[in-house]
Each structure stands twice: as C-alpha cells, then as structure tokens.
C-alpha cells in the first residue's frame, strides 16, 4: 500500500508537527501571567461607551472600525460566492408533515424573538449583533430547508448591504458631527450602537443564510 518513501515522509511530518506543537506550547506557557492586557483601559473607558457590556463596547465603540471592515469582509464573501455562479440542484426540502409544520410555526417566531432579545441585551450582557445574527440565520436555514424562504433578488441584496451601509452612514455622520470617524457624541453612543447593530444583525443573518443557499436567485424568480 504505502511505499517506504511515503512512510518516511509521514514520519517527518509527524515529527515536524509535534515539534511545532511543543514550540507553541512552550511559548504559550512562557507568556507572563497576571498581565492586565487592555482590561483596565477598557474598564476605565466603559462608562463613556454608551453600553455596559465590555465586549460590545470594544466591538462597536473602541474598535468599531474593525467591526465595520468585518461586515465588509462578510459582504465580500457573499459577492465572491455569488460570482462563482454555482448552479446547484434544488435542495431537498424536508418532507411536509403536520409535525414539522407545527414545530416551525411555533419555533420560527420564537427564534426571531430570541434574536431580538439577544440584540437588545447586548448592551448590558453577553449578546449583540453577531449572536442575534447567528440565531436569525438558524431561522433562515430552517425556512430554506422547508421551502418557505422566498425573497426577491433586490430585497435580498438590500438586506445584505444594509449593515455596511448603515455602518458607513453612521461613521460619516459622526465624522461630520464630532470630527472623528465613529467617534460618537457624548451621551448618545448607546443609541448609535443599537442603530448599527440592528442593521448589522439583518445583514449578518441574510449573508450567512445566502451563503448556506450558495447561489444568487434569478432576477425575478423566487429565491431558490
């Protein structure tokens, strides 16, 4: 089956990988513990950030530019996948049954509500646009698997770019208002963060669901 050369190569790979693991392990253990990192700086600036959840504060205030670019990366991925022009056969949908239909009827609104809750709670506790977007993606995938997901191409496109558009619009508005890109005015930062997050949630869910579908719907057809 395997030639001696292949076996020798495999041994070399195993040794190299183990050596890499040992090196990384030593490096990790060697990192001085007890460092505060940026925790203290973030904690000090937290009252000015408009939210009380430090992770949301970092994502949408202190390092909001990163998040803006990340939404751009998401959109780029969708464009790239659509550009491949895959022609996928119609995916099998789950067999229609009273049980599945009833479950969906209960679960889809519930999941949508949970997504809204996660979006809202992100200001004070773990949650936010990404978590809400992930749950909404679950809604989209469930709908897709049951063949009830129907969106026209233009609506889909607008939903996919809504997050980036809103993010850039707010960034430019802040630039004109306070002189700093994404530097929110004192006192209203929480509102702007919620505005951006709401649009971002819609876009994240739309893009991830569209990536699951894998191809762009035709101009006037229903979404496949």
């Amino acid at each position: 089956m395997t030639t001696p050369i292949e076996r020798a190569r495999h041994v070399i790979v195993v040794i190299a990988v183990l050596a890499l693991g040992a090196l990384l392990g030593i490096a990790i253990v060697g990192i001085p513990v007890g460092g505060q990192g940026l925790a203290l700086i973030a904690a000090e600036a937290l009252p000015d950030s408009g939210v009380s959840n430090p992770v949301t504060a970092v994502l949408l205030n202190f390092r909001a530019f990163d998040t803006l670019l990340e939404i751009g990366v998401l959109l780029l991925t969708l464009v790239a996948v659509w550009a491949l022009g895959l022609r996928l056969p119609d995916a099998e949908t789950l067999p229609a049954s009273p049980l599945v239909n009833t479950l969906l009827r209960i679960n889809l609104p519930l999941l949508t509500m949970i997504a809204g809750y996660l979006l809202w709670i992100g200001a004070t506790a773990p949650g936010g646009a990404f978590q809400a977007g992930a749950v909404l993606t679950g809604v989209g995938v469930l709908m897709r698997l049951n063949g009830v997901l129907r969106l026209s191409r233009s609506v889909l496109r607008w939903m996919a770019i809504a997050g980036l558009l809103m993010f850039v619009a707010v960034a430019l508005a802040m630039l004109a208002w306070t002189g700093g890109l994404l530097q929110y005015p004192v006192g209203s930062a929480g509102t702007w963060i919620l505005v951006i997050e709401t649009a971002a949630t819609v876009s994240i869910a739309t893009i991830l669901t569209a990536l699951f579908v894998g191809q762009e719907p035709g101009p006037r057809e229903e979404r496949p």
Binding site: V13, L18, G21, A39, P54, V55, V58, V73, T77
Partner: protein, 90 residues
C-alpha cells in the same frame, strides 16, 4: 498550571491536530475542516489569554474571537463553494 494556560495548551493541541490533517490529507473537505479546527485552537488560545487577575477579563480578545468566528464561517462557506466549483469544472 493555571486553568488559563491549561486551556491555552488545549488550544495549541487543537491547532496542531488541524495542522497535521492539513498536511497529510488530500481532499478539499478534510482540509477545510482541518483549517477550521486550527482556527478553533487559535480562538481558544485567545479566550485563555483574556483571563486576567481576579474578576477582570480582557474584553478585547473576546471581541476578536467573536469577529473571528463570523469571518471563519464565511470563509469556510467560500472555500466550500470554491471546492464545489472546482469539482464541477473537472
């Protein structure tokens, strides 16, 4: 050994397992999966690095991981689509 460095070492282990599979496996699907396993290892190291003294947790690595997960998912989707397109072309 503190719990944080334990988790960081597990993260290194995941990274190494993924890297090994990336090197020795030939098919696209396994390679895409192994890159994901490597990514999970990196996320775990970052989360472990966020552990501070006492109750202070560094939110910056948490935000990076949150961002990273979404980017990793979309990059995986693109990789799968590319793989499918290549398979179709052959």
């Amino acid at each position: 050994m503190s719990p944080a460095s334990f988790y960081a070492l597990i993260g290194v282990g995941l990274f190494v397992i993924g890297f090994y599979a990336l090197l020795v496996r030939r098919d696209d699907l396994t390679r895409i999966l192994s890159i994901n396993v490597m990514g999970s290892g990196v996320f775990m190291v970052l989360i472990a690095a966020a552990d501070g003294v006492g109750a202070t947790v560094d939110p910056v690595p948490h935000a990076m991981v949150l961002t990273g997960i979404v980017v990793a998912v979309s990059a995986t989707a693109f990789a799968l689509a590319l793989s499918l397109a290549r398979e179709r072309a052959q």
